[in-house]
């Protein structure tokens, strides 16, 4: 068994929260720069220039990329040989969120109860997805998720007869109806299969993939490319002002599903697709 101290986890999580909110991933930076070159609309181009200037300013460490520093969402892979010393994994992560959101001057955007709506004051609780893997490592991915893009997400329990065409129609229609609200250019995470809640999780996991990477299955790689092309014909453009660059990428993640079911989910990410990881 390998022991990992809960204090080390807290420290790592604190740094991830800050890093994710100040330093945009290289793949997203590249995608935005390419979008600027490709954008056909003058207003769209001017918008992308501001977006690029913004993440360059944010890297200097004084201002986070967006004032909505999001719900702290984590994907954790814990090795089956790992044992947490002096504490509990989820509490260690939440403590890291508390510290990161305080010392990083990040916005506290979490309400204790969705109906009463009183702020918890420290951006906890985090949302944590945990998997057990073989080995002795602890991998933590921090993916802060803003409210605007999250509000444009949806799960649809389709019929198996709806098929691939049904998925395409759902994704394209969802992006069209979302319009300017999720701060385009967006990244579209698509989940297919699983149960109702697993499907949604797959759609969010899809957002973590490096932009520009191809799906390992040629069938889904082709579907991703087709959806990206179709979505960019909607004309929504950067910030919904009209343009050719509506989405930077469409990623699909699948999961086995019930013989009677055919769920699909769309989780939209705005252009600041924030995710950072550490392996302890």
């Amino acid at each position: 068994m390998r022991e990992i101290s809960s204090k080390d986890i807290t420290k790592a999580v604190k740094e991830l929260c800050i890093d994710a909110n100040y330093n945009l991933g290289e793949d997203v930076q590249d995608a935005l720069r390419k979008a600027y070159e490709k954008e056909g609309s003058p207003v769209g181009k001017a918008t992308l220039k501001q977006i690029i200037d913004n993440f360059e300013i944010s890297q200097q460490g004084e201002f986070p990329m967006c004032q909505d520093t999001g719900t702290a969402v984590f994907f954790v892979e814990m090795g089956d040989q790992v044992c947490i010393k002096d504490g509990n994994l989820f509490e260690a992560i939440n403590q890291g969120v508390r510290q990161g959101y305080k010392d990083g001057y990040l916005r506290k955007s979490i309400l204790a109860d969705p109906i009463e709506r009183k702020n918890t004051g420290d951006n906890t609780p985090a949302v944590i997805h945990l998997d057990i893997e073989k080995g002795d490592k602890l991998k933590i991915v921090c993916a802060p998720k803003g409210g605007g893009s999250e509000n444009m997400s949806e799960v649809k329990m389709m019929k198996p007869a709806d098929g691939v065409e049904g998925v395409k129609e759902f994704v394209i229609d969802k992006v069209k109806r979302s319009g300017s609200n999720p701060c385009p250019p967006i990244i579209v995470g698509v989940g297919i299969g699983g149960t109702f809640e697993k499907c949604a999780e797959m759609a969010k996991r899809a957002l973590l993939r490096t932009i520009g990477s191809k799906h390992p299955d040629p069938f889904y790689a082709k579907l991703e490319a087709e959806l990206l092309e179709e979505v960019n014909k909607l004309g929504v453009g950067p910030q919904g002002f009209g343009g050719t660059q509506t989405a930077l990428a469409v990623h699909i993640q699948t999961y086995p599903c019930h013989i009677a079911s055919f769920p699909a989910a769309v989780n939209i990410n705005c252009h600041v697709a924030r995710h950072k990881e550490v392996i302890l």
């Binding site: 913004n54 300013i57 986070p64 004032q67 001057y105 990040l106 929504v236 343009g243 705005c270």
Partner: protein, 184 residues
């Protein structure tokens, strides 16, 4: 694209000169208000009472910033979704405001009010929050401190970047811009 420099308070002439798609740099004072402050302002207007600041010619910015570092005027301060203020904005325009800054399309009632009262709706770039913060050089509480993040504040801005998205001539960039590039 050349940027237009505009200064608050705005005159009717200055607003009529603005068309959708115009890239502007706003300087002067702007007033922040979100859902809760708007509700209170409209209640005052309903009672025929004065607003807590002189609204003539002023712009309202829909924003909820991240915390300011010590010594800084403000944290990151990009716009919040304007659609939530759809029912309030026409009353604020009627009271003398010359427009709003936010993100996302505002409704037909607001479009009509922009024409009737000569106002303009500007979009600040959602997520260009650090860039926008750099243009905010002053930050003063004006009213309703008890509303916390939703209090009315006055930001003094220098070259605050925005785009005219809905104008006083009936133009709506969210509709017309998309139509130009829509292929499906």
């Amino acid at each position: 694209m050349a940027k237009k420099k505009i200064t608050t308070p705005l005159t009717d002439e200055a607003v009529k000169d603005l068309k959708i798609g115009d890239d502007v740099l706003i300087s002067g004072d702007i007033y922040t208000a979100r859902d809760a402050a708007h509700k209170r302002m409209v209640e005052l207007l309903d009672k025929g009472e004065k607003l807590p600041f002189d609204i003539g010619g002023q712009l309202i910015y829909y924003v909820g910033p991240s915390p300011a570092r010590p010594g800084n005027v403000i944290g990151s301060a990009g716009p919040t979704t304007s659609g939530r203020m759809n029912k309030y904005a026409p009353r604020i325009l009627e009271a003398g405001s010359k427009g709003m800054i936010g993100k996302g399309e505002m409704g037909p009632g607001v479009q009509d009010a922009l024409k009737k009262y000569t106002g303009a709706y500007f979009a600040a770039i959602g997520g260009a929050a650090a860039l926008i913060a750099k243009s905010i050089v002053g930050n003063e509480l004006i009213a309703w401190e008890e509303l916390g993040a939703e209090a009315i504040r006055k930001y003094t801005v220098k070259d605050f970047p925005a785009i005219v998205v809905q104008d006083c001539h009936g133009g709506n960039l969210y509709k017309e811009g998309v139509k130009k590039y829509q292929k499906i």
